[in-house]
Protein backbone atom coordinates (compact mmCIF):
# COMPACT_ATOMS: atom_id res chain seq x y z
CA UNK A 1 0.00 0.00 0.00
CA UNK A 2 1.33 3.41 -0.96
CA UNK A 3 -0.13 6.90 -0.67
CA UNK A 4 0.15 10.06 -2.75
CA UNK A 5 -1.65 13.40 -2.75
CA UNK A 6 -4.97 13.92 -4.48
CA UNK A 7 -4.97 17.70 -4.37
CA UNK A 8 -4.82 19.92 -1.31
CA UNK A 9 -7.48 18.02 0.59
CA UNK A 10 -7.15 14.49 -0.66
CA UNK A 11 -4.94 11.47 0.05
CA UNK A 12 -4.91 8.60 -2.42
CA UNK A 13 -3.99 5.12 -1.23
CA UNK A 14 -3.14 2.56 -3.85
CA UNK A 15 -2.95 -1.17 -3.48
CA UNK A 16 -0.03 -3.05 -4.95
CA UNK A 17 -2.07 -6.13 -5.83
CA UNK A 18 -4.16 -6.55 -8.97
CA UNK A 19 -7.82 -5.57 -8.59
CA UNK A 20 -10.15 -8.25 -7.32
CA UNK A 21 -12.50 -9.01 -4.45
CA UNK A 22 -9.63 -9.26 -1.93
CA UNK A 23 -8.29 -5.81 -2.83
CA UNK A 24 -11.77 -4.28 -2.64
CA UNK A 25 -12.39 -5.89 0.77
CA UNK A 26 -9.09 -4.59 2.03
CA UNK A 27 -9.80 -1.05 0.78
CA UNK A 28 -13.28 -1.15 2.33
CA UNK A 29 -11.82 -2.15 5.69
CA UNK A 30 -9.31 0.67 5.50
CA UNK A 31 -12.07 3.13 4.60
CA UNK A 32 -14.22 2.02 7.54
CA UNK A 33 -11.27 2.17 9.92
CA UNK A 34 -10.28 5.67 8.83
CA UNK A 35 -13.86 6.90 9.27
CA UNK A 36 -13.99 5.22 12.67
CA UNK A 37 -10.71 6.85 13.77
CA UNK A 38 -11.69 10.24 12.39
CA UNK A 39 -15.46 10.50 12.66
CA UNK A 40 -15.13 14.23 12.02
CA UNK A 41 -13.07 15.66 9.24
CA UNK A 42 -13.34 12.97 6.56
CA UNK A 43 -15.66 14.46 3.98
CA UNK A 44 -15.75 11.74 1.38
CA UNK A 45 -14.15 8.43 0.40
CA UNK A 46 -14.03 7.12 -3.14
CA UNK A 47 -13.13 3.52 -3.86
CA UNK A 48 -11.52 2.70 -7.17
CA UNK A 49 -10.52 -0.74 -8.38
CA UNK A 50 -7.13 -0.44 -6.75
CA UNK A 51 -7.34 2.82 -4.86
CA UNK A 52 -9.04 4.53 -1.96
CA UNK A 53 -9.10 8.33 -2.13
CA UNK A 54 -9.94 10.13 1.08
CA UNK A 55 -11.04 13.76 1.01
CA UNK A 56 -10.76 15.64 4.31
CA UNK A 57 -11.78 18.99 5.74
CA UNK A 58 -8.39 20.53 6.65
CA UNK A 59 -9.83 22.82 9.31
CA UNK A 60 -11.15 19.81 11.22
CA UNK A 61 -8.62 17.09 10.41
CA UNK A 62 -5.00 17.99 9.74
CA UNK A 63 -3.35 16.25 6.82
CA UNK A 64 -0.46 15.08 9.02
CA UNK A 65 -2.84 13.37 11.45
CA UNK A 66 -4.60 11.56 8.62
CA UNK A 67 -1.27 10.44 7.13
CA UNK A 68 -0.09 9.24 10.56
CA UNK A 69 -3.23 7.14 10.86
CA UNK A 70 -2.75 5.74 7.37
CA UNK A 71 0.88 4.88 7.99
CA UNK A 72 -0.01 3.25 11.29
CA UNK A 73 -2.67 0.99 9.80
CA UNK A 74 -2.22 -2.70 10.35
CA UNK A 75 -1.33 -3.97 6.87
CA UNK A 76 -3.09 -7.24 7.67
CA UNK A 77 -6.64 -5.96 8.04
CA UNK A 78 -8.56 -9.15 7.74
CA UNK A 79 -11.15 -11.46 9.21
CA UNK A 80 -13.67 -8.75 9.94
CA UNK A 81 -17.18 -9.06 8.61
CA UNK A 82 -17.85 -6.84 5.64
CA UNK A 83 -20.98 -4.78 5.20
CA UNK A 84 -21.57 -5.98 1.64
CA UNK A 85 -25.06 -7.17 0.77
CA UNK A 86 -26.39 -9.67 -1.76
CA UNK A 87 -28.51 -7.96 -4.38
CA UNK A 88 -30.53 -9.70 -7.09
CA UNK A 89 -31.53 -7.60 -10.06
CA UNK A 90 -34.28 -8.75 -12.45
CA UNK A 91 -33.35 -8.21 -16.10
CA UNK A 92 -35.44 -8.44 -19.23
CA UNK A 93 -32.84 -9.50 -21.78
CA UNK A 94 -33.99 -8.78 -25.35
CA UNK A 95 -33.09 -6.92 -28.47
CA UNK A 96 -36.00 -4.57 -27.69
CA UNK A 97 -34.69 -3.68 -24.21
CA UNK A 98 -31.00 -4.01 -25.01
CA UNK A 99 -30.26 -3.01 -28.56
CA UNK A 100 -26.79 -4.59 -28.71
CA UNK A 101 -27.90 -8.05 -27.56
CA UNK A 102 -27.70 -9.68 -30.99
CA UNK A 103 -24.48 -7.89 -31.93
CA UNK A 104 -22.89 -9.01 -28.65
CA UNK A 105 -24.02 -12.59 -29.18
CA UNK A 106 -22.43 -12.49 -32.63
CA UNK A 107 -19.21 -10.92 -31.35
CA UNK A 108 -18.92 -13.43 -28.51
CA UNK A 109 -19.86 -16.35 -30.78
CA UNK A 110 -22.60 -17.38 -28.38
CA UNK A 111 -26.31 -17.93 -28.92
CA UNK A 112 -28.50 -15.28 -27.27
CA UNK A 113 -29.73 -17.97 -24.84
CA UNK A 114 -26.18 -18.93 -23.85
CA UNK A 115 -25.19 -15.31 -23.50
CA UNK A 116 -28.10 -14.68 -21.10
CA UNK A 117 -27.35 -17.88 -19.20
CA UNK A 118 -23.68 -16.92 -18.86
CA UNK A 119 -24.38 -13.34 -17.78
CA UNK A 120 -26.99 -14.33 -15.21
CA UNK A 121 -25.16 -17.30 -13.73
CA UNK A 122 -22.37 -15.40 -12.04
CA UNK A 123 -22.15 -13.36 -8.85
CA UNK A 124 -20.47 -10.03 -9.51
CA UNK A 125 -18.51 -7.86 -7.14
CA UNK A 126 -19.28 -4.14 -6.94
CA UNK A 127 -15.81 -2.63 -7.38
CA UNK A 128 -16.42 1.07 -7.73
CA UNK A 129 -19.12 3.71 -8.07
CA UNK A 130 -18.58 6.62 -10.40
CA UNK A 131 -19.06 7.90 -13.95
CA UNK A 132 -22.65 8.88 -13.09
CA UNK A 133 -24.69 8.99 -9.87
CA UNK A 134 -25.13 5.45 -8.58
CA UNK A 135 -23.30 3.87 -11.55
CA UNK A 136 -21.57 0.83 -10.11
CA UNK A 137 -18.85 -1.11 -11.93
CA UNK A 138 -19.48 -4.85 -11.52
CA UNK A 139 -17.05 -7.59 -12.37
CA UNK A 140 -15.61 -9.74 -13.52
CA UNK A 141 -17.79 -11.03 -16.32
CA UNK A 142 -16.97 -14.47 -17.79
CA UNK A 143 -14.09 -14.20 -20.23
CA UNK A 144 -16.35 -15.19 -23.12
CA UNK A 145 -18.47 -12.06 -22.59
CA UNK A 146 -15.55 -9.64 -22.93
CA UNK A 147 -16.36 -6.97 -25.50
CA UNK A 148 -14.87 -3.53 -26.18
CA UNK A 149 -16.88 -0.33 -25.71
CA UNK A 150 -18.60 1.31 -28.69
CA UNK A 151 -16.25 3.53 -30.70
CA UNK A 152 -18.67 6.41 -30.36
CA UNK A 153 -20.71 6.59 -27.16
CA UNK A 154 -24.47 6.88 -27.51
CA UNK A 155 -25.97 10.24 -26.71
CA UNK A 156 -28.52 8.70 -24.42
CA UNK A 157 -28.74 5.30 -22.81
CA UNK A 158 -32.12 4.63 -21.10
CA UNK A 159 -32.23 4.31 -17.31
CA UNK A 160 -32.07 0.69 -16.17
CA UNK A 161 -30.02 -0.48 -19.17
CA UNK A 162 -27.85 -3.49 -18.39
CA UNK A 163 -24.57 -3.25 -20.21
CA UNK A 164 -21.19 -4.85 -20.88
CA UNK A 165 -17.72 -3.42 -21.44
CA UNK A 166 -14.46 -5.39 -21.30
CA UNK A 167 -14.79 -7.73 -18.33
CA UNK A 168 -17.31 -5.48 -16.61
CA UNK A 169 -21.06 -5.19 -16.40
CA UNK A 170 -23.27 -2.42 -15.01
CA UNK A 171 -26.77 -1.01 -14.89
CA UNK A 172 -27.21 2.64 -15.96
CA UNK A 173 -29.08 4.13 -12.98
CA UNK A 174 -30.23 7.26 -14.82
CA UNK A 175 -30.53 8.08 -18.49
CA UNK A 176 -27.09 9.30 -19.57
CA UNK A 177 -24.66 9.14 -22.47
CA UNK A 178 -22.73 5.90 -22.57
CA UNK A 179 -20.49 3.68 -24.64
CA UNK A 180 -21.17 0.27 -23.10
CA UNK A 181 -22.99 -2.53 -25.00
CA UNK A 182 -26.65 -2.84 -23.99
CA UNK A 183 -28.10 -6.32 -23.49
CA UNK A 184 -31.24 -5.79 -21.42
CA UNK A 185 -33.03 -3.66 -18.91
CA UNK A 186 -33.76 -3.78 -15.18
CA UNK A 187 -37.16 -2.47 -14.00
CA UNK A 188 -35.92 -1.41 -10.55
CA UNK A 189 -35.04 2.14 -9.63
CA UNK A 190 -31.30 2.13 -9.00
CA UNK A 191 -30.90 5.72 -7.96
CA UNK A 192 -33.24 7.90 -5.93
CA UNK A 193 -32.11 11.05 -4.18
CA UNK A 194 -34.72 10.50 -1.45
CA UNK A 195 -33.11 7.17 -0.48
CA UNK A 196 -30.18 6.90 1.89
CA UNK A 197 -27.82 6.08 0.34
CA UNK A 198 -29.32 7.24 -2.97
CA UNK A 199 -27.71 4.41 -4.96
CA UNK A 200 -29.14 0.86 -4.70
CA UNK A 201 -25.71 -0.80 -5.12
CA UNK A 202 -22.68 0.11 -3.01
CA UNK A 203 -19.06 -0.95 -3.38
CA UNK A 204 -18.58 -4.29 -1.64
CA UNK A 205 -22.05 -5.62 -2.53
CA UNK A 206 -22.47 -8.88 -4.46
CA UNK A 207 -24.83 -8.66 -7.41
CA UNK A 208 -26.63 -11.31 -9.44
CA UNK A 209 -28.95 -10.93 -12.41
CA UNK A 210 -32.20 -12.91 -12.85
CA UNK A 211 -33.78 -13.14 -16.31
CA UNK A 212 -37.42 -12.03 -16.49
CA UNK A 213 -39.93 -11.71 -19.34
CA UNK A 214 -41.34 -8.60 -20.93
CA UNK A 215 -44.65 -8.69 -19.01
CA UNK A 216 -42.85 -9.16 -15.69
CA UNK A 217 -40.61 -6.23 -16.56
CA UNK A 218 -43.64 -4.03 -17.17
CA UNK A 219 -45.47 -5.33 -14.09
CA UNK A 220 -42.43 -4.44 -11.96
CA UNK A 221 -42.61 -0.85 -13.11
CA UNK A 222 -40.17 -1.01 -16.01
CA UNK A 223 -40.74 1.43 -18.82
CA UNK A 224 -39.84 1.29 -22.48
Amino acid sequence: MRWTYAGIRGIRLSHDDAPGPAVTENLLRIRDLLIQRHPEGIEDCVLGYQTLTVFFEPQVLGRERLIDTIEGLDPDLSRQPLPGRDIELPVWYSQESGQDLEAVSEHCKLSVEDLIRLHSSKTYNAYATGFAPGFCYLGDTPERLAIPRLNTPRREVPAGSVALADRQTAVYPIASPGGWRLIGRCPLRLFDVTDSPPGLISVGDRVTFRPIERDQFLAMGGSL
Partner: protein
Protein backbone atom coordinates in the same frame (compact mmCIF):
# COMPACT_ATOMS: atom_id res chain seq x y z
CA UNK B 1 -43.15 34.43 -1.59
CA UNK B 2 -41.28 36.48 -4.17
CA UNK B 3 -40.59 35.02 -7.58
CA UNK B 4 -38.21 35.92 -10.39
CA UNK B 5 -39.52 35.43 -13.88
CA UNK B 6 -36.71 34.67 -16.33
CA UNK B 7 -37.40 36.52 -19.57
CA UNK B 8 -34.15 35.80 -21.44
CA UNK B 9 -31.04 33.62 -21.07
CA UNK B 10 -28.04 34.56 -23.20
CA UNK B 11 -26.06 31.32 -23.18
CA UNK B 12 -26.19 29.32 -19.98
CA UNK B 13 -27.35 30.12 -16.47
CA UNK B 14 -27.89 27.83 -13.49
CA UNK B 15 -28.81 28.00 -9.83
CA UNK B 16 -25.68 27.43 -7.74
CA UNK B 17 -24.69 27.45 -4.10
CA UNK B 18 -21.46 26.15 -2.54
CA UNK B 19 -22.02 22.60 -3.78
CA UNK B 20 -23.03 19.13 -2.66
CA UNK B 21 -20.45 17.49 -0.44
CA UNK B 22 -20.27 13.99 0.96
CA UNK B 23 -21.63 12.03 -2.00
CA UNK B 24 -18.56 11.44 -4.18
CA UNK B 25 -18.60 7.82 -3.04
CA UNK B 26 -22.07 7.54 -4.62
CA UNK B 27 -20.85 8.98 -7.90
CA UNK B 28 -22.44 12.36 -7.25
CA UNK B 29 -20.22 15.30 -8.08
CA UNK B 30 -19.75 18.41 -5.92
CA UNK B 31 -20.91 21.08 -8.38
CA UNK B 32 -21.36 24.53 -6.85
CA UNK B 33 -20.37 28.02 -7.96
CA UNK B 34 -17.15 27.78 -9.98
CA UNK B 35 -16.08 31.13 -8.48
CA UNK B 36 -17.39 30.43 -5.00
CA UNK B 37 -15.81 33.55 -3.50
CA UNK B 38 -17.70 35.75 -5.96
CA UNK B 39 -20.98 34.10 -4.91
CA UNK B 40 -20.12 34.52 -1.22
CA UNK B 41 -19.43 38.21 -1.82
CA UNK B 42 -22.72 38.62 -3.68
CA UNK B 43 -24.49 37.06 -0.70
CA UNK B 44 -22.48 39.15 1.77
CA UNK B 45 -23.60 42.35 0.06
CA UNK B 46 -27.22 41.40 0.83
CA UNK B 47 -26.83 40.03 4.33
CA UNK B 48 -27.55 36.50 3.05
CA UNK B 49 -25.75 33.54 4.55
CA UNK B 50 -22.64 32.80 2.43
CA UNK B 51 -24.06 29.54 1.10
CA UNK B 52 -27.36 30.97 -0.16
CA UNK B 53 -28.14 29.96 -3.72
CA UNK B 54 -27.80 32.52 -6.48
CA UNK B 55 -27.57 32.55 -10.25
CA UNK B 56 -24.38 31.69 -12.10
CA UNK B 57 -24.47 33.27 -15.54
CA UNK B 58 -22.02 32.23 -18.27
CA UNK B 59 -20.69 34.92 -20.66
CA UNK B 60 -23.85 36.18 -22.33
CA UNK B 61 -26.12 37.57 -19.64
CA UNK B 62 -29.69 37.08 -18.47
CA UNK B 63 -32.89 39.11 -18.04
CA UNK B 64 -35.62 38.76 -15.42
CA UNK B 65 -38.51 40.51 -13.74
CA UNK B 66 -39.66 40.31 -10.15
CA UNK B 67 -43.24 40.29 -8.95
CA UNK B 68 -42.30 42.14 -5.78
CA UNK B 69 -39.65 44.53 -4.51
CA UNK B 70 -36.33 42.62 -4.40
CA UNK B 71 -32.70 43.46 -3.70
CA UNK B 72 -30.00 41.84 -5.81
CA UNK B 73 -26.22 42.10 -6.19
CA UNK B 74 -23.91 41.17 -9.02
CA UNK B 75 -20.30 39.96 -8.69
CA UNK B 76 -17.72 37.96 -10.63
CA UNK B 77 -16.96 38.47 -14.31
CA UNK B 78 -17.74 42.13 -15.12
CA UNK B 79 -20.86 42.71 -17.21
CA UNK B 80 -23.15 45.70 -17.78
CA UNK B 81 -26.29 45.88 -15.64
CA UNK B 82 -29.49 47.78 -16.44
CA UNK B 83 -32.61 48.11 -14.36
CA UNK B 84 -35.46 49.46 -16.48
CA UNK B 85 -32.82 50.59 -18.95
CA UNK B 86 -30.76 52.52 -16.41
CA UNK B 87 -27.12 51.51 -15.98
CA UNK B 88 -26.16 50.16 -12.56
CA UNK B 89 -22.93 49.17 -10.81
CA UNK B 90 -21.70 45.73 -9.84
CA UNK B 91 -20.64 44.84 -6.32
CA UNK B 92 -23.37 46.69 -4.44
CA UNK B 93 -26.98 46.03 -3.47
CA UNK B 94 -29.47 47.03 -6.17
CA UNK B 95 -33.22 47.39 -5.76
CA UNK B 96 -35.48 45.98 -8.44
CA UNK B 97 -39.05 47.21 -8.06
CA UNK B 98 -42.14 45.11 -8.81
CA UNK B 99 -42.51 44.71 -12.55
CA UNK B 100 -39.12 46.29 -13.24
CA UNK B 101 -36.85 44.51 -15.63
CA UNK B 102 -33.32 43.54 -14.65
CA UNK B 103 -30.85 43.00 -17.44
CA UNK B 104 -27.31 41.61 -17.27
CA UNK B 105 -25.42 41.99 -20.54
CA UNK B 106 -22.52 39.94 -21.95
CA UNK B 107 -19.42 39.97 -19.73
CA UNK B 108 -16.48 42.05 -20.92
CA UNK B 109 -13.87 39.79 -19.31
CA UNK B 110 -14.03 36.51 -17.45
CA UNK B 111 -16.70 33.86 -17.86
CA UNK B 112 -18.84 33.51 -14.74
CA UNK B 113 -20.99 36.30 -13.27
CA UNK B 114 -23.06 35.82 -10.11
CA UNK B 115 -26.38 37.32 -9.11
CA UNK B 116 -27.52 36.98 -5.51
CA UNK B 117 -31.03 37.78 -4.37
CA UNK B 118 -31.83 38.92 -0.83
CA UNK B 119 -33.24 35.83 0.85
CA UNK B 120 -31.56 33.50 -1.66
CA UNK B 121 -32.98 31.53 -4.56
CA UNK B 122 -35.26 28.92 -3.04
CA UNK B 123 -35.40 25.92 -5.35
CA UNK B 124 -35.80 22.55 -3.56
CA UNK B 125 -32.50 21.37 -2.05
CA UNK B 126 -31.31 17.98 -3.31
CA UNK B 127 -28.96 16.06 -1.00
CA UNK B 128 -28.29 19.23 0.95
CA UNK B 129 -27.63 21.59 -1.95
CA UNK B 130 -29.47 23.66 -4.52
CA UNK B 131 -26.56 23.50 -6.99
CA UNK B 132 -27.56 22.45 -10.48
CA UNK B 133 -25.55 19.67 -12.12
CA UNK B 134 -27.13 19.38 -15.54
CA UNK B 135 -25.34 16.14 -16.44
CA UNK B 136 -26.73 14.44 -13.33
CA UNK B 137 -30.12 16.14 -13.55
CA UNK B 138 -29.81 17.24 -9.92
CA UNK B 139 -30.56 20.50 -8.11
CA UNK B 140 -31.68 23.90 -9.31
CA UNK B 141 -34.89 23.92 -11.28
CA UNK B 142 -35.62 20.30 -12.32
CA UNK B 143 -31.89 19.63 -12.57
CA UNK B 144 -31.52 21.72 -15.71
CA UNK B 145 -30.19 25.07 -16.89
CA UNK B 146 -32.54 28.06 -16.68
CA UNK B 147 -34.65 29.03 -19.66
CA UNK B 148 -37.07 31.76 -20.63
CA UNK B 149 -40.36 31.52 -18.79
CA UNK B 150 -38.89 29.90 -15.66
CA UNK B 151 -40.19 31.19 -12.38
CA UNK B 152 -37.71 31.06 -9.51
CA UNK B 153 -38.92 31.29 -5.93
CA UNK B 154 -36.84 33.45 -3.58
CA UNK B 155 -36.70 33.19 0.19
CA UNK B 156 -37.54 35.93 2.62
CA UNK B 157 -34.73 38.43 3.03
CA UNK B 158 -32.97 38.43 6.40
CA UNK B 159 -33.91 41.30 8.66
CA UNK B 160 -30.34 42.54 8.25
CA UNK B 161 -30.67 43.16 4.53
CA UNK B 162 -28.76 46.40 4.13
CA UNK B 163 -30.35 49.69 3.24
CA UNK B 164 -29.33 51.01 -0.14
CA UNK B 165 -26.91 53.60 1.11
CA UNK B 166 -23.17 53.54 1.10
CA UNK B 167 -20.71 55.20 3.42
CA UNK B 168 -19.44 58.44 2.02
CA UNK B 169 -16.10 58.29 0.30
CA UNK B 170 -16.08 54.51 0.06
CA UNK B 171 -15.54 53.08 -3.37
CA UNK B 172 -15.99 49.36 -3.56
CA UNK B 173 -13.46 48.06 -5.99
CA UNK B 174 -15.02 44.68 -6.55
CA UNK B 175 -14.69 41.52 -4.65
CA UNK B 176 -12.12 39.28 -6.28
CA UNK B 177 -9.66 38.84 -9.08
CA UNK B 178 -12.13 37.62 -11.67
CA UNK B 179 -12.48 41.01 -13.34
CA UNK B 180 -8.93 40.86 -14.61
CA UNK B 181 -8.83 39.98 -18.27
CA UNK B 182 -6.29 37.16 -18.22
CA UNK B 183 -4.27 36.33 -21.29
CA UNK B 184 -1.61 34.18 -19.64
CA UNK B 185 -1.99 32.40 -16.35
CA UNK B 186 0.14 30.09 -14.25
CA UNK B 187 -1.54 27.11 -12.63
CA UNK B 188 0.22 25.93 -9.52
CA UNK B 189 -0.41 22.27 -8.80
CA UNK B 190 0.37 19.62 -6.21
CA UNK B 191 1.86 16.53 -7.87
CA UNK B 192 0.06 13.32 -7.00
CA UNK B 193 -1.99 10.46 -8.41
CA UNK B 194 0.13 8.96 -11.23
CA UNK B 195 2.69 11.76 -11.28
CA UNK B 196 5.61 9.53 -10.36
CA UNK B 197 4.52 6.75 -12.70
CA UNK B 198 4.49 8.73 -15.95
CA UNK B 199 7.69 9.07 -17.94
CA UNK B 200 10.25 11.81 -17.17
CA UNK B 201 9.68 13.66 -20.41
CA UNK B 202 5.96 14.01 -19.74
CA UNK B 203 6.64 15.32 -16.21
CA UNK B 204 9.16 17.85 -17.50
CA UNK B 205 7.11 19.01 -20.45
CA UNK B 206 3.95 19.57 -18.42
CA UNK B 207 5.85 22.33 -16.61
CA UNK B 208 7.92 23.65 -19.53
CA UNK B 209 5.38 23.75 -22.38
CA UNK B 210 2.69 26.40 -22.74
CA UNK B 211 -0.90 25.34 -23.34
CA UNK B 212 -4.01 27.24 -24.41
CA UNK B 213 -7.60 27.08 -23.19
CA UNK B 214 -9.87 25.53 -25.83
CA UNK B 215 -13.40 26.56 -26.74
CA UNK B 216 -14.94 23.50 -25.13
CA UNK B 217 -14.22 24.64 -21.55
CA UNK B 218 -17.25 24.33 -19.27
CA UNK B 219 -18.23 23.67 -15.66
CA UNK B 220 -16.95 20.09 -15.89
CA UNK B 221 -13.46 20.74 -17.13
CA UNK B 222 -11.12 22.99 -19.07
CA UNK B 223 -9.52 21.07 -21.95
CA UNK B 224 -6.19 22.52 -23.02
CA UNK B 225 -4.43 22.55 -26.33
CA UNK B 226 -0.69 22.14 -26.80
CA UNK B 227 2.05 19.85 -28.07
CA UNK B 228 0.79 16.38 -27.06
CA UNK B 229 2.19 14.78 -23.92
CA UNK B 230 2.91 11.08 -23.80
CA UNK B 231 2.43 9.68 -20.30
CA UNK B 232 3.68 6.23 -21.29
CA UNK B 233 0.78 4.81 -19.28
CA UNK B 234 -2.00 2.76 -20.81
CA UNK B 235 -5.00 0.96 -19.39
CA UNK B 236 -5.46 2.30 -15.90
CA UNK B 237 -8.10 1.21 -13.42
CA UNK B 238 -10.81 3.77 -12.80
CA UNK B 239 -10.31 5.82 -9.67
CA UNK B 240 -11.31 9.06 -7.96
CA UNK B 241 -10.69 12.44 -9.51
CA UNK B 242 -10.22 15.67 -7.54
CA UNK B 243 -10.95 19.34 -8.09
CA UNK B 244 -8.17 20.57 -10.37
CA UNK B 245 -7.02 17.10 -11.45
CA UNK B 246 -4.76 17.30 -14.49
CA UNK B 247 -5.87 14.40 -16.66
CA UNK B 248 -3.80 13.38 -19.65
CA UNK B 249 -5.89 11.23 -22.03
CA UNK B 250 -4.34 9.31 -24.95
CA UNK B 251 -4.63 12.42 -27.17
CA UNK B 252 -1.94 13.97 -24.95
CA UNK B 253 -3.91 17.20 -24.46
CA UNK B 254 -4.29 17.86 -20.73
CA UNK B 255 -7.72 18.48 -19.19
CA UNK B 256 -8.14 20.25 -15.86
CA UNK B 257 -11.20 18.99 -13.99
CA UNK B 258 -13.53 21.48 -12.32
CA UNK B 259 -16.69 21.53 -10.17
CA UNK B 260 -18.97 19.30 -12.28
CA UNK B 261 -16.24 16.72 -13.01
CA UNK B 262 -17.10 13.04 -13.13
CA UNK B 263 -16.23 11.56 -9.75
CA UNK B 264 -14.08 8.83 -11.30
CA UNK B 265 -11.86 8.62 -14.33
CA UNK B 266 -9.61 6.14 -16.05
CA UNK B 267 -6.99 8.50 -17.49
CA UNK B 268 -3.59 9.24 -15.95
CA UNK B 269 -3.71 12.19 -13.54
CA UNK B 270 -0.55 14.21 -12.93
CA UNK B 271 -1.70 16.09 -9.85
CA UNK B 272 -4.25 18.71 -8.90
CA UNK B 273 -4.27 22.45 -9.58
CA UNK B 274 -4.80 24.35 -6.32
CA UNK B 275 -8.34 25.74 -5.81
CA UNK B 276 -7.64 29.49 -6.32
CA UNK B 277 -5.90 28.68 -9.62
CA UNK B 278 -8.90 26.55 -10.66
CA UNK B 279 -11.06 29.67 -10.29
CA UNK B 280 -8.65 31.76 -12.39
CA UNK B 281 -8.61 29.04 -15.03
CA UNK B 282 -12.41 28.77 -15.11
CA UNK B 283 -12.81 32.53 -15.35
CA UNK B 284 -10.25 32.82 -18.17
CA UNK B 285 -11.44 32.61 -21.75
CA UNK B 286 -10.57 30.34 -24.69
CA UNK B 287 -7.19 31.26 -26.16
CA UNK B 288 -5.72 32.25 -22.79
CA UNK B 289 -2.22 30.78 -22.39
CA UNK B 290 -1.61 28.41 -19.51
CA UNK B 291 1.60 27.33 -17.77
CA UNK B 292 1.82 24.70 -15.08
CA UNK B 293 4.03 25.14 -12.05
CA UNK B 294 4.69 22.28 -9.66
CA UNK B 295 4.65 23.23 -5.97
CA UNK B 296 4.92 21.15 -2.84
CA UNK B 297 2.07 20.62 -0.45
CA UNK B 298 3.51 23.01 2.18
CA UNK B 299 3.57 25.82 -0.37
CA UNK B 300 0.00 24.96 -1.39
CA UNK B 301 -1.07 25.09 2.27
CA UNK B 302 0.57 28.50 2.65
CA UNK B 303 -1.26 29.85 -0.41
CA UNK B 304 -4.50 28.34 0.82
CA UNK B 305 -4.02 29.99 4.24
CA UNK B 306 -3.37 33.38 2.65
CA UNK B 307 -6.33 33.01 0.29
CA UNK B 308 -8.68 32.06 3.11
CA UNK B 309 -7.59 35.03 5.24
CA UNK B 310 -7.76 37.46 2.33
CA UNK B 311 -11.28 36.25 1.52
CA UNK B 312 -12.42 36.44 5.13
CA UNK B 313 -11.10 39.99 5.43
CA UNK B 314 -12.87 41.07 2.24
CA UNK B 315 -16.11 39.43 3.28
CA UNK B 316 -16.02 41.01 6.70
CA UNK B 317 -15.35 44.42 5.09
CA UNK B 318 -18.36 43.93 2.82
CA UNK B 319 -20.57 42.96 5.74
CA UNK B 320 -19.35 45.89 7.79
CA UNK B 321 -19.82 48.43 5.03
CA UNK B 322 -23.10 47.16 3.69
CA UNK B 323 -24.57 45.02 6.40
CA UNK B 324 -25.33 47.73 8.97
CA UNK B 325 -27.58 50.75 8.80
CA UNK B 326 -25.59 53.94 8.35
Amino acid sequence: MTALEITHVGLHATVQDLGRTGFLGQGITVGGAVDSFALRCANGLLGNSPGSAGLEVVLAGIKFQADQDIVVSVTGAPAPIRIDGEAQAMNRPLRVGPGSSFELGPSSAGSYTYIAVAGGVDTPPVLGSRSTVVREGLGGLEGRALKRGDSLACGSPNSNTPPLVMRKGYTHRGDDGSQRASTHITLRFIPGFHHDAVNDECRTRLCSDTFAITGSANRMATPLDGPPLNTGLTQLWSEATALGSIQVPPSGQPIVLLNDRQTMGGYPQMGAVIPPACVRLAQARPGCKVDFQRINVEEADRISWLTTHYEEARLSAITTLWGQPV
